[in-house]
Amino acid sequence: MTRIGLEIHCQLTKLASKLFCSCKAEYRNTTPNSNICPVCVGIPGSLPLLNKKAVEKAAMISLALGCTIPEKIGFFRKNYFYPDLPKNFQITQYNAYGPTSIGSDGKIEIEGKTIRIRRIQLEEDPGRLVYEGTSEKTMITLVDYNRAGTPLVEIVTEPDFETPKQVRVFLNVLADLVENIGVADPYLEGAMRVDGNISEGDGNRVEIKNVGSFRDVEKALHFEITRQQSLVERGITVLAETRHWDEARRITVSSRSKEDEQDYRYLPEADIPIVLIGNNSVEQIKTQMPESIVARRERYIKKYGMPAQVADVLSSDRFYSDLFDKSHNEKNAKEVSNIITTDLMGVADTREKKLELKITPKHVSELADAIMENKLTRNSGKSALHEMVKSGKSLADVMTSLDLGHVSDAGSIEKIIDEVFKEEEKAVAEAKQNPDTINYLVGKVMRKTKGKADPTTTLEILRKKLAG
């Protein structure tokens, strides 16, 4: 049996500042070594100052994953020498001498399977090494400390996964969850990093590091499982080691480092006093937490009668569910959810695209109303939506500029049908014989009216004319 456990590093990118100083938590797109101060580069005499907001947000993640939050939390130093680590120790949390990390013993259901969470710890990210060329062949290594001190939570699961697919589903759920809480944008480069531990049967555990994306996690796990199974089949013992995912060759490679032998000499961090959390604070944090994805899904199904699939898709995406909650009313909820899940999500499926959307809740609401009131065909609605997304113009403006008004008066449609009859004599004759081919004529009318003709009226008049 394959057993897979995960360690997920998730940066709290939505916080304003780093974990122990007031430098920005969002270090991306800054000049190297400009987002730093004496604290985050460990200048002698500087002291870490705990960001209380980070503790709150980490507590929210812990609660969302069903973890227990202890009365008191504490910080430890993990000592090792590495150039990206300015103090040569990382401030983190450690449970070997009693549970003092922000969360422990949680669980989450994934497709009917329970995944146990061993612990969640709050810690600082190191800086970044930038190699000239590849890391193996480089002669020059540069250090950028802009990231040093960025708050992150490390989530450690028990080895409860059996397949790479379960892992992928879990990671997607986890990403949605932290995004929903509003603590992190998991789709930013490097914001969510995953290490996996894999073993076959009673075999040794192999750790896989350096996996860049969720998709690669699944691939790396597949590769590693196959590698271990083929070793076992040939009676070769799987070595306990750390392997790195080689993105270019799509294989895992033994890292040959002595990481497994490292002794981190953990030591309590005395510069940060023990933080009392207690039941009251936990209750307070609970009240500040946004509605969970599960609760939201239930609400959508119960209150609006949304099909489960639509409710699933909508509730797990914070951006679109917020848009839904702000744009719908009692009457148009179903239409709004349709517009969002069938049209809008297709237009903007990535973070970058979502950020570019110029659409507001008002746009969506008006669009839904217009469709329901028969002022727009669904087809024209789609065109209007595309235009509003790009330009941010009002629905009325878009309808005028694209000439999308609904043609429903029988007179105008009849005129157009007469034109079509002249042009399509053969098709008309055929339709008289075989009523099934009538759609061809409907299509012609639609093309002439750019989709504005009311389909029901068009069909009625067509039938009458063909019969007469």
């Binding site: 200048i43 005499g45 100052l49 150039p83 953990y266």
Partner: protein
Amino acid sequence: MNLGISATEFVSQVREGAISVEEFVAKTLERIEKVDGKIHAFITVDSQNALEKAKAIDKKIKSKEKTGICFGMPVSIKDNICTAGLKTTCASKMLENFVAPYDATVTSRLKSEDAIIIGKVNLDEFAMGSTTEHSNFGPTRNPWNTDYVPGGSSGGSGASVAALECLASLGSDTGGSVRSPASFCSVVGLKPTYGMISRYGLVSYANSIEQIGPIAKTVEDVAFLLNIISGHDVHDNTTAKNQNIDYVKDLKSGISGKKIGIISQMTGDGVDKEVASATNTAISKLQDLGAQCVSISLDAVEHSIAAYYTIAAAEASSNLSRYDNLRYGFDFGTEGYEFKAFISKARSNFGPEVIRRMLLGAFVLSAGYYGKYYLKAQKVRAMIKAQLDEAFKKVDYLISPTMPILPFKVGEKIDDPLKLYLTDINTVTANLSGIPAISVPFAMSSSGLPIGIQLFADSFKEKELLQAAYSLQETTNLPEMTL
């Protein structure tokens, strides 16, 4: 002009217009020029800036502008406390060129009250030692007899005050580093309660037990400095809130009716005869003032040295790991080194005592030994605290000699680290438990070497502690510095 006046006297004389700041600072600089070659208290002297500041303060006083309460008082600062623009070397090769980009909180608080930072003073490298012999820049000598050590690690602070090279100094006390030189140099030194003074800008050695502390000629001066440098600091999460106490006010309240516990483990075997006899005299003088003295046993103290060196070394091994010469440090040809070789080459420039403690610390924290040593040391620490809590239910103060022995000669004990460690037996208890302790100069030995008496009080009872120290000080009649 008398450079032997106290800091408090200096303030009142400047206020009255009896002396000018510029003249006093100039005379002080002359004095440093004249005697520091023999004592070597200073690593850096900031003459030009000191004179300019002095002139500016004189001008402020003349034009009746608001002036800070230090009125240009020249102070020295231990070279492990950051001063923007002045080197902070920690007496180490590793930081010989390090200039902090910011002021420690204590530095900025002194500056904002118009104290003049006249220079940075010597210490055992990274404050590890009790003689100031372990400095990369050479030892500091005792102004009362330059063949002798000044105590340590804040030996430069103690010696510079005793030798009249400044009016006051800031040291740091991890295991007695303020009180030891205060005792050996016949000046007053206070180790405040942990959390009373910001450590922001103090280069960490053992961060869970150390505090910055003032060293000055009198108890009044120490109270005056404490008013300025103590209090909550947003830059240090370990500082206590709500400390709005005036330590100068009611200083002369006396100790009549107070109870003092004589710590039997610090006054018995192993204490030098002359030191023991001075301690007995101090006790009877306090009794004469109306205090009630009783013997008290704190048996956990017997394990205090072992616990102290375990905890301090463990923290040191972590605190000092940042000195890898990557971001600051000293120059050496880096060409051709791979990362690990580079780090070990750079770190081989620590002095032997620092290396000894880092190795010891790395060992006690390593897998399999943490519980055996580090956790056990923490248990001793908790035991000491519990025994002190019990003791302070019965008494207001505790008393002992600050150092169990008289100052010894430079070079005499440096080759026997264990013997040196044992001289900290009376001071480490205050650090392990966090309580405040003060060393008050009390007597001179027959050979003319200073003897200090140590008083302890419960956490955050500095006001009461200073009252007792003042009472004890008033019973003494000590010689003037003749160097």
